[in-house]
Amino acid sequence: MKRATSSAAENQDVAALHKTPTGVEGFDAITGGGLPRNRTSLIFGGPGSGKTVFALQTMVNGARQFGEPGIFVAFEENSRHIVANAASFGWNLPQLEKKQLFFFDAKVRPDVIKAGEFDLSGMLAGIKAEADARGVKRIVFDSIDVLLTLLDDPYAERREIYRLNDWLSESGLTGIITAKSQGDYPFVAARYGFMQFMADCVVVLKLQVVDQIALRYLQVMKYRGSSFAENEAPLVIGASGMEVADISAKTIAVEASPERVSSGVGPLDAMLGGGYYRGSSVLITGSAGTGKSILAGLFAEAACRRKERTFYVSFDENPSEVVRDLSSVGIRLGPHLKSGVLRMHSARAETFSAEVHLMNIKRIVREHQSRCMVVDPVSAIVKAGAALTAGRVAERLICLAKSEGITLLSTSLLQGAQPLSEETPVRISTIADTWIHLTNISQAGERNRALSIVKSRGMRHSNQVRELILSDEGIALADVYTAAGDVLMGTARWQKEAAEKTEQKRILAEVEHKRREVALARAELTVRIEALEQELKQKEAEAERLTGADARHKLDLVHRREGLEQSPSAKIFKKRPENSHAAGKKMTRGRRLPKGGGQ
């Protein structure tokens, strides 16, 4: 009878469906505002899946954040135990109790004897009176199956469930009923079959163990009159309660920044055309020992120097080890850690599921108000649970950074069969904005580090492979030599460089030598030209002397000689023509020489 009226009312105000925020992070986003107000929601789940935590957290948040007092009807556990168990969440239940949050110990002790039929009408009347007197808006029945076990009769079960439901819809309270489910599918048990039709919202909590790591999920199965994200959402129960991953398809609304942030390596900034974009996500991949952590450390150090709050997450290495190791290459993080600009967090990857890691990271990021973040290595998350889940966690980590405007640098270890395939195990390379790949190139008996930018969205970047050189003075990027199709690095590059230098020197020396030789030759020639000019002058003078009177005088002499030759004393004069002949010879030679010198 009341079913009809309630569904009629429902049809009337579907558009005006109001929601009651649970304050459970992620859940309100998935359901577009929380649980249906003044309606009944069913929370199914196996043992330990978090039903009680979800219900209690909804109550606590209602009382603390939304000014809605609540009653918690505990069929299963003593309220003392519930308060004690929730103490670790920091909800301060003892303070809330009796003012905004009331517990009703409805646990039926085992020594109570059942002798005949009973119902819940008295209890519900009492709760109604209590709720009215204290202005209660929310109510939890945890868990209904304990009650059903007590009734132990299918007819009575159904009757009491309907009684409860009718009571809830009349009371105007926002109700949560928790129910234990067996196995994966919550509705196998016939006793719950009708409950899902009755409730306006059905939520299933799951606990799975994959690779020895506990993974929790939440799934909204039904939400009358409302849209909701229907996939399984990862769920985490952490230090401050339950947190549900927001799987609702919401776009990243943060505006892209044109501002550049230094990578901490000058030459790398140059390769990227100025550095990483602010708020972008950078992925550095490479196998072990390629220098990923060093690039991460340099980025963190540079950020700290700019006085930007930086959060450094390391897996399987504690902060002091990270600081020590990085100081060996001249990266000093210690002072920044002390001043609080740098916050470090380390965790053993296998200890928790990827979801728990993400939740911890999220909490610290908000607490610390980080602007830059390093996750070294993000691939460690893969160890924390199923690979697919871990991949999603990595994606959500990037989304978290994006939505908070944090510049994120994460490293990823590549190993296994294809260490150089440039494929990231976490498959976050597609959503990373900048992807830098480091490789170890092994040749001529040594390993060298090579850096290349695989991609960088929205910026021009160098396509060249550079050699990453680590030294006491820090880090440098060197151009690599390519020779006969091989990339030369390390000693080979050094040898090549040295050889080129020697060759250059040799050429320079040769040129100098030649230059000197030529200068010497020129000087010699100049001297010779001068000497010859002198000689020429002498000869010209001599030639002049030989003309005119001299010539005539010589002719006289010839005539005289001819006369004398016929005389007996001719032998004396014969020698003179020989002498003049010798002098003539000399002249000929002298004339030729300048010609030869001129050549």
Binding site: F75, F102, F104, D105, A106, V108, R109, D111, V112, I113, K114, A115, G116, E117, F118, D119, L120, S121, G122, M123, A125, G126, I127, K128, A129, E130, A133, L147, L150
Partner: protein
């Protein structure tokens, strides 16, 4: 008709008699059955040796939380010790007698 409260209970205890408190919902059929069943049982097994207090939760609903009443009807044997709680309409007489430690009188 029935003495109620601590004073009544103490007087009854002095006499070594049974003191019962029965939580009911006035209009409920189960409640009427429980009252009838309890009266009949007392008449048969505890003549002149019992006191019954009936609490109507519709009239006094705050006692649900203070007395932690989940099921109606609920019978509480206040004395003699130990305190015993029995839920249901008391139609299963053997169980009731067992719970009250009176089973030797039957059968």
């Amino acid at each position: 008709m029935i003495p109620s409260g601590d004073e009544g209970a103490r007087r009854a205890e002095e006499k070594g008699s049974f003191v019962f408190r029965l939580y009911v919902v006035n209009e409920g059929p189960g409640s009427a059955r429980a009252i009838a069943n309890l009266s009949a049982l007392c008449k048969k097994h505890l003549p002149d040796n019992h006191q019954i207090e009936i609490v109507d939760l519709l009239q006094d609903p705050r006692r649900v939380l203070s007395d932690k009443i989940v099921a109606t009807p609920t019978l509480i044997k206040v004395s003699p010790a130990p305190v015993q709680k029995i839920i249901g309409d008391l139609s299963e007489e053997a169980k009731v007698l067992f719970a009250l430690g009176l089973q030797q009188g039957t059968k």
